[in-house]
């Protein structure tokens, strides 16, 4: 097991659970992807952090930050990083393949079915209901990570200020993500750089 940063390393007397094999990664990520209606992120947090405990909440937060700023689908990047951490390239491929293969066939089946039921208003309404729930799920994923910020070098209050700033910029002012990451993320990183000891 390689923790992604010294700060996030679990104490050595608490070995934390790991995937058994690349096959375990493939099956776990397939199951995870199939539960993720309208996005997989909330499920990743529930399965990887809370149930299987392959990631600590700190590691999840750090990995997610990296997955977010790299190009490509965030949850795919996250799966790649988790797979690579335990089994190198084989693990990375197993995790990403698990995330994509079975859901790909499901979505093709849905696309063929869709032609028949597209006009049914109840189907559209049920999808709307699921969309609203998945919005709640993702927001809760963020809320659950707030306690992790208590140990942050910038202090809890400053962190909450950054959370509020990003929320307002994206959700209320609808500023493009790239600018928010560059401006707010840049300030947060430079400030943290000054605070942590060299």
């Amino acid at each position: 097991m390689h923790p992604s940063a010294p700060a996030a390393a679990p104490p050595p007397d608490h070995p934390h659970p790991q995937p058994a094999s690349p096959r375990d990664l493939f099956v776990s990520f397939t199951w995870l992807a199939l539960q993720g209606f309208g996005g997989v992120l909330a499920i990743v947090q529930r399965e990887m952090v809370e149930k299987k405990k392959w990631l600590t909440p700190d590691q999840f937060l750090e990995d997610w930050a990296v997955a977010q700023v790299m190009p490509g689908p965030n949850v795919i990047n996250l799966a790649l990083m988790i797979g690579d951490r335990y089994f190198g390239l084989r693990g990375a491929i197993a995790a990403v393949a698990g995330m994509l293969t079975v859901p790909l066939f499901v979505i093709l089946a849905l696309a063929v079915l869709y032609a028949h039921y597209a006009a049914n208003p109840q189907v559209a309404a049920a999808l709307r209901g699921m969309g609203a729930v998945s919005g709640g799920l993702i927001a809760a994923t963020g809320i659950k990570l707030i306690p992790q910020l208590r140990k942050h070098p910038l202090g809890f209050a400053t962190c909450l200020g950054f959370v509020a700033l990003v929320f307002a910029a994206i959700a209320l002012l609808k500023i493009p993500l790239g600018w928010v990451l560059l401006a707010v993320g840049g300030v947060a990183c430079v400030w943290t750089w000054k605070k942590i000891s060299p």
Partner: protein, 199 residues
Amino acid sequence: MTIAMQWHDWLALFGQYLLLSLLSISGAITTVPDMHRYLVAQHGWLTEAQFTSSVAIAQAAPGPNVLFVALMGWNVGLNAGGGIGAGPVAWLLGFFGLMVTMVGIMLPSTTLTYFATRWGHRNRTRREVRAFKQGMAPVVVGLLIATGWVLAGGNQSPGVPAWHLWLLSGVAALVVWRTRIHLLWLLGCGAALGAVGFV
């Protein structure tokens, strides 16, 4: 709809998705406007309805949202083969199109992420790597809450008061935060409430 695709058209499509892959910071969904410009407006390889339904189905289906890219390739292939009713040749071309767009959108970004995160891991004790990872933490929390907010209010029905949708999202967030109930139950409740006309 039927279109003619030459080998250099497929190559151009592949090249376009390789390029978009590197531009898809924070997710493939941010490149949708450019895909629309390329596939619908510039080349006419997809109809407007095929394009929007590809995105909508992927949002509603299980799995990563990036699979909308697969449906776009699938539809381009079907169109090149004479439509879904044209039989096995069209289906094969659909599958070929799907591979062209999916491999195109995945290959550059996953390769870059793979090597960049390995580099970051080897250099994890460096001050700037730690500052980056820890500094981004509050930003990520804010982004997650904002994404939930945008999804919650994004899809209002004309006939139903908006607060119904917000209430459903809010209750879902509260339940996920405070309990360990399986998320599929919540999604099922959302679907049922939608089907009976609450949202």
